[in-house]
């Protein structure tokens, strides 16, 4: 192990490590083989980080896996070469490639929770690769894994390895996975959206750890993400992909300051969407002194919010802060233990079972994942038509016409009326879910992270749609999100939640420009900025803010 570490220090920065030339990968579709990565060339030197960005379906992950000489089932290499350290991986035997993977090329997947085996302790999985290849004795492997845990700033590096995956948080698991990738001191690591599933405040820490470890070990890295601000912190150079083709390739500085292609510029534009703040209006929904429990756990503590008609109130906070619980209390899914929820001045029963149909109709929920919120066995007609027949008794032609109108409102073509959800894209599904909510003609929409699962460009479209609908129909949104860019784009007022309580609330500009609570400061400072030097300042500020909270 020691000689191995010495070797990693001897590595020369700047030596060519990975050279992909004219790579084309095809996938089997309903009409034969279709190229999903088209004629892509890239090169990577030791100690260099190349960022790959693009929306989903751009071929980012496929390209990342190709660096390991691997394709997903149903795909194959149809042209080009992947040269790693002088050898073309595509011409090597599968056995030889397997030996390289894990030892010299490692992969960090998006969802650490899905990549760890829940039945084994972290340490066993972390050193598995070293043990399997016989690179070190067990004691030495455990020792070096513990060092890595410490470098990744995991709490209690000595003992955390004895825990099972479900006993650590998502951010810790993601860091453990990076540590696992590092155990064999690989020359190249492919990071496939390693922080996408994390909270902003956790993301900062994971990013910092990854950058530190990559720098210390002179490891080359491919960093795949759809978040431009994140890649700006990590990469020396950035490649933009779309539909499997290269759009633009430049150094990070140049890419951020003067992107050449319109597509690249449109990616940049998403974060600049901003809703002008509107004047206050009469209150339509009021939540006063609400408490809620899950068993003995107090999930909401004395929450009071006033939501004005025709405005958007954004509720922000990290996961576990009680944002979604608040939505469940307002909708009646989780009866509150104390306090009151009133709509139009009328107090609502705590449980949805005691509310009238009309009261239920006036509050509509839209969920984060349209995949689980739309019944996969119903067509769009069934999905959107049901509230119409249920609340308004619309049937036959009248119902059909109204469904077509609603789809038109959410900018979907009427040919989707007979589609099942599986036949639609992520953005289209979310539009159907929005159309279903509009169908009930509610007073208040509760939007629970509805753009979090979408690509940035699609996010922007959905946010614009919501803004237009608000303008046309004077609808009210209670918008739950963890993303500050989304808050800027849609909110009039902001409520910041932390550990089941409200730490700050008020008009958007006031909260965003002068965050007077340390948690709000932390949250705001954790949002990645386009500035490449942001990460360093964020870590500093974050530490200070954290100390203040504690």
């Amino acid at each position: 192990m020691i000689s191995n570490r010495a070797a990693s220090h001897n590595r020369q920065n700047g030596e060519l490590l990975l050279d992909i030339r004219n790579l084309t990968i095809e996938a089997e579709g309903s009409d034969g083989w279709q190229p999903i990565v088209k004629d892509i060339s890239l090169h990577l030197r030791r100690g260099e980080v190349l960022g790959i960005i693009g929306e989903s379906g751009a071929g980012k992950s496929t390209l990342g896996l190709a660096a390991l000489g691997f394709t997903r089932p149903g795909c194959h290499f149809s042209g080009g070469s992947v040269t790693f350290d002088g050898r073309d991986l595509l011409k090597e035997s599968e056995e030889r490639r397997r030996q390289l993977r894990g030892t010299r090329i490692a992969y960090v997947a998006q969802s650490a929770a899905a990549s760890f085996n829940p039945a084994h302790r972290l340490i066993e999985q972390t050193i598995e690769c070293v043990m399997m290849r016989g690179l070190a004795s067990r004691g030495a492997a455990v020792q070096s894994a513990t060092d890595l845990f410490a470098q990744m700033q995991l709490p209690d590096p000595e003992t955390i390895g004895d825990r099972f995956p479900h006993q650590v948080s998502g951010g810790q698991l993601q860091r453990a996975m990076t540590a696992m990738a590092m155990t064999c001191k690989p020359d190249l690591i492919v990071f496939d959206e390693p922080t996408t599933a994390l909270d902003v405040t956790t993301q900062v820490e994971v990013l910092a750890s990854i950058r530190k470890i990559v720098e210390e070990h002179h490891t080359a890295a491919l960093y795949i993400t759809h978040d431009l601000a994140v890649v700006a912190q990590m990469a020396h150079r950035i490649m933009v992909l779309r539909h499997g083709e290269l759009v633009e390739h430049a150094s990070t500085q140049q890419m951020l300051s003067e992107p050449e292609q319109t597509y690249t510029r449109s990616l940049w534009a998403v974060r600049t969407l901003e809703k002008p703040e509107e004047p206050p209006a009469e209150t339509i929904l009021s939540v006063s002194n609400v408490d809620a429990h899950y068993g003995d756990f107090k999930a909401l503590d004395d929450i009071s919010i006033e939501v004005p008609r025709g405005r958007t109130v954004a509720v922000v906070g990290e996961s576990g802060s009680g944002k979604s619980t608040l939505a469940r209390v307002i909708s009646g899914l989780l009866p509150s233990a104390a306090g009151a929820v009133s709509l139009n001045g009328v107090r609502l029963a705590p449980s949805l079972k005691q509310r009238s149909r009309d009261q239920l109709r006036r509050i509509q929920m839209i969920y984060q994942s349209a995949d689980t919120a739309l019944n996969p066995r119903q067509t769009v007609m069934d999905l959107v038509g049901r509230p119409l027949s249920f609340h308004f008794g619309l049937k036959g032609r009248m119902q059909e016409r109204r469904v077509a109108e609603l789809l038109d409102m959410v900018e979907l073509s009427d040919r989707h009326i007979v589609s099942f959800p599986s036949e639609l894209s992520g953005g289209q599904k979310q539009r159907v879910a929005i159309a279903r909510a509009i169908a009930a003609d509610p007073d208040v929409f509760i939007c629970d992270e509805i753009t979090s699962a979408l690509d940035q460009l699609v996010q922007e479209q959905i946010l614009k749609l919501l803004l237009n609908l608000q303008k046309e129909m004077n609808k009210t949104y209670l918008f739950i999100t963890h993303d500050i860019a989304t808050v800027n784009a849609i909110a009039d007022q902001v409520v910041v939640m932390c550990r089941g309580g409200i730490v700050q609330q008020g008009a958007k500009r006031a909260v965003m420009s002068s965050p007077d609570h340390p948690y709000t400061k932390l949250l705001l400072s954790a949002v990645p900025q386009m500035d490449p030097g942001w990460l360093d300042t964020a870590i500093q500020n974050g530490r200070l803010a954290k100390q203040n909270i504690e």
Partner: protein, 297 residues
């Protein structure tokens, strides 16, 4: 996002998708084995429904003075130990064996499926009670339990059907309960209850379509098991009573033939095997098109 036809198009818009349309689309993609399976099942159904019209002789008629006659032009597959026409008995057997197994499986599904879904969405005490009863029934070896019950209630066809249906419904209950539970936690169920839908509507329109593929696959397998249970009971003399023709009984009665190189006893056995394989072909195909709805395209 929008196509260019902003002013609503002149072409007729298709609003609803019919179930039969889906099945036709599925049939067009069906493989050869599926068609084979479908044809065999159809053939069995026709035989079972129109047995009296198709069979050359009656089910229990002794038509020949010669028992165990060889295959000949009058009695295509020869005669059995009493001089009854084997071919006619095989045709009637479709009615008894297949018909009874089918009715039994259907009742088992109605019972187990309904209770399973109910158990998945009802308060925990009811779930506990129902699951407890199912566990108790499953703990007793099925065949022995069936024998006891048959001894108690007498081995008439209705009691065979009911007893085997109840015993098999426990496994269907378990399956329906666990798959309905997975669906019941989905957000679209929450959406339906937020709309104020009744429980029955939620079960029929939201849950059932999602667990149907699993249940139908189980139906194919369960049918084969029920079939075998009935045959086993017949073998023990407690199943379908003579003179009714039953494939299981027929195999047993003429089993000794096989040592003389006569393949007659293999015919009812082959009838059972062919049906089992065909059902599984069709179930495979059905699962294919049902999951296709969700995954690809």
């Amino acid at each position: 996002m929008r196509p260019s036809d902003t002013n609503l198009p002149a072409r007729a818009v298709r609003y609803r998708r019919s179930r039969t349309g889906l099945v036709w689309a599925g049939l067009r993609r069906a493989s050869l084995t599926t068609w084979l399976g479908l044809c065999v099942i159809l053939l069995y159904a026709i035989l079972a429904l129109f047995a009296p019209l198709i069979a050359p002789y009656g089910e229990a008629d002794v038509v020949s003075s010669q028992p165990f006659a060889a295959w000949n032009s009058t009695f295509l597959f020869g005669t059995d130990q009493l001089g009854r026409d084997v071919m006619s008995r095989i045709i009637y057997g479709a009615r008894n064996s297949v018909g009874i197994a089918f009715i039994t499986t259907t009742i088992a599904f109605l019972l187990g499926g309904t209770l399973g879904i109910l158990s998945a969405i009802s308060p925990s005490w009811l779930d506990h009670v129902l699951s407890g009863v199912a566990d108790m029934l499953m703990a007793i070896p099925q065949l022995i339990f069936a024998l006891i019950l048959l001894a108690l209630f007498g081995s008439s066809i209705p009691s065979i059907v009911m007893i085997i249906a109840v015993l098999n419904s426990t496994q269907i209950f378990r399956l329906a309960r666990s798959s309905a539970r997975n669906v019941a936690v989905m957000e679209f169920i929450e959406v339906a209850s937020l709309r104020g839908e009744r429980t029955l509507w939620i079960i029929v329109r939201e849950i059932l379509p999602n667990i149907m593929p699993t249940l139908i696959a189980e139906f194919g397998l369960r049918f084969c098991f029920v079939f075998l249970t009935i045959s086993a009971l017949s073998f023990l003399g407690l199943g379908i009573q003579p003179p009714s023709a039953d494939w299981g009984t027929m195999v047993r009665e003429s089993a000794t033939f096989i040592s003389y190189g006569n393949i007659t006893p293999l015919l009812p056995a082959a009838a059972i095997a062919l049906l089992t394989v065909s059902i599984n072909f069709v179930v495979d195909w059905f699962l294919d098109i049902a999951s296709g709805l969700r995954d690809d395209q």
